[in-house]
């Protein structure tokens, strides 16, 4: 995960939230620190993402589903077809 440090990443959590921020650090159990974090909320039926600024966040590893490096250009030219797009489900592992 070293190569993702200081890059803008998108993190999907186990409850289906999608946060975007700059990865500052991580550890063995994939606890992560994000700065300039925003939560990207997709409300079904809409054409755009809603971005909620959150500030700095620590996300516990157990609630991380996946972390991806964001291609900014693609993100800015994002097109959403509201007829097909849905939110991300949560993981029920308890």
């Amino acid at each position: 995960m070293d190569e993702l440090v200081n890059k803008t990443v998108s993190v999907v959590t186990s409850d289906g939230r999608n946060m975007m921020g700059i990865l500052q650090g991580f550890d063995q159990t994939s606890n992560i620190i994000l700065t300039q974090c925003t939560q990207n909320v997709y409300i079904p039926g809409q054409r755009e993402l809603e971005q909620i600024p959150l500030g700095s966040y620590i996300i516990r590893g157990t609630s991380v589903t996946f972390i991806g490096e964001v291609d900014q250009e693609k993100f800015l030219s994002l097109k959403i077809d509201p007829a097909l797009a849905v939110g991300i489900k949560s993981i029920n592992n308890r």
Binding site: V12, T65, E69, I88
Partner: protein, 95 residues
């Protein structure tokens, strides 16, 4: 540790990882670690129409605990060897 070694033999192959939240990610396997956390390069979301906002990812790190299935390239898996290896590991663990 058998499956850790097995996944290491699949590095640089194309796989589809299905997660427990029903998102599927297709990409080139870059690396695996002891927790079966997976790193994929050249990621595509399989059902991109459903999750267009995830389509802007270049590479990703997937936490092993959230994986449900991994679809493997059939040509790159020798099931006979894998079966023998699982039996051997089972024998060792019994002793």
């Amino acid at each position: 540790m058998l499956f850790f070694s097995f996944f290491k033999t699949l590095v640089d192959k194309e796989v589809i990882v299905e997660l427990k939240n029903e998102v599927s990610l297709k990409g080139t396997l870059h690396s695996v670690d002891q927790y079966l956390n997976i790193k994929l390069n050249n990621v595509e979301i399989v059902d991109e129409q459903k999750y267009p906002y995830l389509g802007c990812l270049k590479n990703c790190f997937i936490r092993g605990s959230t994986v449900r299935y991994i679809q493997l390239p059939a040509a790159d898996v020798d099931t006979d060897v894998l079966q023998d290896a699982t039996r051997k590991e089972h024998q060792v663990n019994k002793k």
